[in-house]
């Protein structure tokens, strides 16, 4: 069980109130099955239990454009195994206090990446290569567009599964794991 807490203005129960499942193509917001809020004065505790969510089959295929193209649909054994290890990258959008608050409580051994909405520098500086070479467990508290771009890029050469919940109007909390797709078309040149 990963415990994450953040100090923020969101009223207790806000996440639960936003529970929804929007299977509108690439933007899938799954119910906050594995993200629960409890009130502790002005603090909001966010408890994340990915294993539990996986077991309950609450992982939803993140239907990015080519995720299906590369054959991703269901959680597979390697991806399940990925949850037994540390996260490879953890992104937080440093423009927002909520995201900074969540990031401050992430484990120190998680490689934290401060972002400002744009995935471009991260993709070109390692993520692209990493998603081709090995299974990755990625998490973040970012804007919609960051996650949309990440999923769309990664799905070109990896199978994806993951979970997304809306924190507020600006931010999504998400976890994705990627497994290189051996059938993905190699880059030609």
């Amino acid at each position: 069980m990963l415990e994450v807490s953040c100090r923020k203005e969101m009223p207790p129960g806000a996440l639960a109130g936003q529970r929804q499942r929007l299977c509108r193509s690439t933007m899938i917001i799954v119910p906050a099955f594995s993200i629960r809020l409890t009130s502790a004065g002005s603090r909001v505790a966010v408890r994340v239990s990915p294993e539990e969510a996986m077991q309950r089959r609450h992982f939803i295929h993140l239907a990015t454009l080519t995720a299906v193209f590369t054959g991703a649909a269901k959680p597979c054994a390697p991806a399940l195994a990925a949850f037994s290890r540390n996260r490879d990258r953890v992104f937080f959008d440093q423009r927002f206090p909520t995201a900074r608050g969540v990031a401050a409580l992430w484990p120190a051994f998680d490689p934290l990446m401060a972002v400002e909405g744009d995935i471009t520098p991260f993709w070109g500086n390692g993520l692209d290569r990493m998603t081709r070479e090995r299974a990755l467990l990625l998490s973040g508290v970012t804007t919609d567009s960051f996650l949309f771009c990440l999923r769309t890029l990664a799905a070109e050469h990896a199978d994806l599964d993951g979970r997304v919940s809306r924190l507020d109007r600006n931010l999504l909390a998400w976890t994705i794991y990627t497994v290189p797709n051996p059938r993905a078309e190699p880059r030609h040149g």
Binding site: A67, A73, T120, R169, N170
Partner: protein, 524 residues
């Protein structure tokens, strides 16, 4: 919901087609069932879930595969919806106009066949992205620049075919294409221009060959499937200097455009520069809630706060100078002097911009052909992430620019959205692209957007303004506005369609062009 079938095709025939497609490309490369969701429009507009839904998808790896596929499609009357990479997300992504179509996804055809530094061109397949081509050139140290649209993951071929624009002097992408290979609906392969001559070595050097110039027929059309295309690349210039000029008032757009016209016509403004609105630029790096908690369009006081915070104007002119310093210095003097007469104008070079992230620092990359995804930031402005582009063309006159701006911004704001527009400067016209950002999870907002978009099209058309490009959901609507002389142009399109694709298997409904058996009266 089961995947829809196209009109006139039953489940048995579709199953036979998919099985034969599998024999052509392999089982791994035909997608049906839940995997088709990848081909839905991520920013769908209609609330009817049956609209624009593919039945299946197929991903060929070669021109020969494409030939074999169209032969089967012809025999079984299966409609194919061709996408190069399917990343055209403001206009429908990979989704078809006609529900039940099989998406022909060319993203596996991703070979860069040639990059010629001496002459400055590339020959590529449709699956090659701007990121791919940029990386190829960088890895080899070639002294060439590509020209990129805002999203770098799109197809070089697909963007040019859809009349996309970029921001270097090579910003008119279809204008710098040269030579195509096209698979016709019959399965026959045609090479255009000089490529039609065996042994010729100028396929990517001279566009026109001999006889009618037909390349334009395969842009924004459904007359063939382009499987290779040449694109001219800009030699790396000996100097580069991006700049930003900001203007304080919305009404300044009239004077700005009057100044831009002669500068652009005379090539003093060298590139496909852009005049961008306040909220569009602000939204790249901030969200509305960081400035205002009120619903609806931002107020004047909020606008002023954003301007001060981000050091931008109500309008922001991003351009660049290319060439040896003595030349760019002279050009800059002419540009600065021309705009200096506008009250409140401010001039910036990158070294003047201290805030990070910053619009000029970002656009400085784009205007030298560095592919990025930064512009997707504007999707976050108001939450919800949906967006669609409304893109009428305007003459480069101040009178037209302010008229279009007032028409569009007024309606956009009346419907509760912020105006997020840019005017991309062509030699003689402006592409006035307004991005409407909406909450895609809200059916009511999607309906409002739909009503707004149709209103914008009608009002623009009544003033003689036409869109250069549109979302799949509005292709019939826009085509209906090009109705001069009793829809003579559409009738010609239909004649060509019937001749080249008599069974109507290629991208039915693309640009409002329907095969005979699906044809309706054009919308007025």
């Amino acid at each position: 919901m089961a995947e829809p079938l196209p009109p006139g095709v039953d489940a048995g025939r579709m199953a036979e087609a998919l099985e034969r497609f599998r024999r052509i490309v392999g089982r791994d490369w035909v997608y049906s069932g839940e995997k088709v969701a990848s081909y839905y429009d991520p920013y769908t507009i209609p609330n009817d879930p049956a609209r624009h839904k593919a039945h299946a998808a197929i991903a060929p790896a070669s021109t020969e595969h494409v030939q074999a596929i169209v032969k089967v499609a012809n025999e079984l009357r299966i409609p194919l919806w061709t996408v190069s990479r399917g990343k055209n997300f403001a206009y429908g992504g990979a989704a078809p106009v006609l529900s039940g179509s099989v998406v022909l996804d060319l993203s596996r055809m991703n070979r860069i066949l040639e990059v010629n530094e001496k002459f400055g061109y590339a020959l590529v397949e449709p699956g090659v992205s701007y990121f791919d081509l940029y990386r190829y050139i960088q890895e080899r140290g070639l002294k060439l620049w590509i020209d990129v649209p805002d999203p770098g993951w799109g197809s070089v071929v697909g963007n040019a075919l859809d009349h996309g624009v970029g921001y270097t002097p090579y910003g008119d992408h279809f204008g710098v294409q040269c030579g195509m290979e096209v698979v016709l609906a019959s399965g026959e392969v045609v090479r255009t221009g000089m490529g039609a001559m065996p042994g010729n070595n100028t396929w990517q050097l001279f566009k026109y060959g001999f006889g009618p110039y037909v390349d334009g027929m395969f842009s924004q059309s459904n007359f063939g499937i382009v499987t290779k295309m040449g694109i001219w690349l800009m030699p790396e210039p000996p100097g580069y200097r991006p700049y930003l000029i900001t203007f304080a008032r919305e009404e300044d757009i009239e004077q700005v455009v009057e100044i831009v016209r002669p500068l652009r016509l005379n090539n003093v403004i060298q590139n496909a520069a852009t005049i961008r609105s306040l909220v569009l630029d602000a939204a790249l790096f901030a969200t509305k809630s960081q400035y205002s908690s009120a619903s609806g369009p931002i107020s004047d006081s909020v606008a002023k706060r954003i301007m001060a915070d981000q050091e931008i104007g109500m309008w922001n002119f991003c351009g660049a100078l290319y060439g040896p310093p003595p030349i760019t210095d002279a050009l800059w003097t002419a540009i600065r002097d021309a705009f200096a007469k506008i009250p409140g104008v401010k001039f910036y070079f990158p070294e003047d911009r201290k805030r990070r992230p910053d619009i000029l620092i970002h656009r400085a990359d784009t205007m030298r052909g560095v592919p990025k995804l930064t512009e997707f930031g504007f999707l976050n402005w108001n939450g919800g992430g949906g967006h669609v582009g409304f893109s009428p063309v305007s003459p480069t006159t101040g009178k037209d620019a302010i008229k279009q701006f007032r028409m569009v911004s007024g309606r956009v704001r009346e419907h509760g959205f912020d105006y997020m527009g840019l005017m991309a400067v062509g030699f003689r016209e402006l592409h006035h692209v307004t991005v409407i950002v909406y909450d895609q999870s809200n059916p009511k907002e999607r309906q409002t957007l739909d009503e707004l978009f149709n209103l914008l099209v009608r009002e623009a058309a009544s003033e003689g303004y036409g869109e250069y490009r549109t979302h799949i959901h509005y292709m019939d609507t826009i085509a209906g506005t090009y109705s001069w002389n009793d829809n003579a142009l559409m009738k010609m399109h239909q004649t060509i369609k019937d001749a080249l694709d008599p069974n109507g298997i290629l991208s039915p409904g693309k640009s409002g062009i329907w095969p005979r058996h699906l044809r309706k009266e054009p919308k007025q």
